[in-house]
Amino acid sequence: MTRISSILAWRERRLDTPLVLSLLVLALAAAIAVSGTAAMQRTACEVLIRLVAVVGMYVFIGNSGVISFGHIAFLGVGAYAAAWMTMEPGIKQQLLTGLPTWLGEASLHWLPASLLAGVLAAGVALVAGAMILRLAGIAASIATFALLAIFNVVYSNWDSVTAGTSSIVGIPTAVGLWQACLLALAAIWLAHLYSQSRFGLALRSVREEPVASRACGVNAWRQGLVAFVISAALCGVAGALDAQFLGVVSPDAYYLDRTFLCLAMLVVGGMGTLTGAVTGVLLLSIVKELLNQLESGVTLLGLGIKLPAGAQEIAIGLLMMAVLVWRPGGLLGTREWGWPGRRGARGGEGAVPLARAA
């Protein structure tokens, strides 16, 4: 018995999925770094930052099956935290008078700043998640939506610390393609290790069979909270990278539009698997870029084509709905990628997520 379970455990603990995904990401980043234009490199960097965010969302949504509309708030928390930690003290103390002195004088390197931003987001998630996860499936989703709104109201009005709705500018832009790539790889490995750990397995068992897993002694609330905190930390890091890539933060950059885009990526790729999260980001980013080009106008076969603003979101929304109707498991299905020839591990029914209980 022990033998069998240890073999199963060993089989489960294979590392080829994150390896394949990291190689894919690394190859794409390298190709663009070597041969891409400056504009392409910026886009690739944006995509990698988005990858950190969506993989972060996968850690909670994929494993728990509870849709969260609130994770973009953690991006915002991380982005502002990075601004507080990395900006030139002189400018900062003038602009953000409400910052405590020790923070006002701080001027951190991008990496510790990003990691600390993740820690702050995790702390916020610990408090918020402890409350929200008391609710069952659908009600919890609505509460995460309320969380996003709370973030937006607070950061839009807390003028002395966040400069209100006017953006904070002048954040050192220390993050480029390689910095983002490093953390994207770290996010992929962390997400994989989490979902193969006993915490990840326990949470997926709650997703699949809430009653049976409770009978086996799984504390659904605690397991959900662990995932919520880890995923918020990743989202916080993504936000910090975003701020240090763009050099600007504003509360509305971390609201509904971004929520929609990130959820669309997760859904289109398949929210039950890490493969789905990663490929969803890559696929939709390509689609988004193409539409971007079309919106700014291109000439094709002598015809000038220019889509009106909003066409991008409509196309992504329609794609998302089509996937939900015809392939609710996501375009990539419910299997993780592995080495060619080996059957990938199942991400499970997570494909069709959530709470049949609801």
Binding site: I142, L147, V153, P308, Q312, G317, L318, V325, P353
Partner: protein, 304 residues
Amino acid sequence: MSTALQYLFDALSVGSLYALGALGIALIFGVMRLVNFAHGDVMTFAVFVLIAPTIEAVTRLWVGAWPTPLLVLSVLAVGALLSVLAEWVLFRRLRKASPATAMIASFALGFVIQNLLLMLHSSRPKAVNLWPQLNQPVEVLGARLPALQLLTIAVAALLLAALAWMLRHTRAGIEMRAAAEDFQMARGLGVKANRVIMLAFALSGALAALIGLLMVNQTGLVDIRMGAPMMLVAFVATVIGGLGSLQGAVLGGLLMGAVSTLLQALLPQDARAFRDAFLYASVIALLLWRPQGLFVTGAQRQRV
């Protein structure tokens, strides 16, 4: 005394808007367990027919220039039709999907509707001044209130009464309640699933349009993003009321109105900007105490 009365009327008028919004969401949740995130955008779409589509800054009235009864009817009809269309095209295909899948699809639909409006009207808020006389103050028991506030309360009360009557005494209403209670059983007893669901969507869409009309008169603006805040409050109201319970949704909406007015009155000046944050936080805190909602009955409790 008159200040207290003023607050009472504020709470009632805000609360009745929230209640109508929550009712629109609960109607659909009741028959098909769908949390309809597109509800707010259906509302926005319906009021946008008031003005002619143009991406220029000037507003030209379109339906808004029609005679009042026709105007109201057309706006409600647009809301109802769009909602039914959404059911017919999208949600019908998701009936067997998990509630989360359907919910996220409705979120996508809301975005599509919003961006369609962006395409047609640009993202600028536009001024629409329909019935300026409604903003004249009226004296009631020593309190001065805008006429619109009284109208909102009256319309909401009338509609709620009419809906309550419909749900209890007409065949369609009874079918709808039966479907909300146990959809399979209701079908087994001869309730036409498609008809009931269509009706729920139509009612919900018309309710959304009505809220939109009332809101436009309050603010004098139409904005492609006006749906989201309304929808969020309505959602939270349905959750506190207990998902799926129609009475719960109405009571939840009124409660949200009362709490938000109270916060407005009691919060110190510099904390008022954070009112909505306090509102949502207090509601989430409330749910810690009763995770199933405040007014939930045994039959509606989620079973594991």
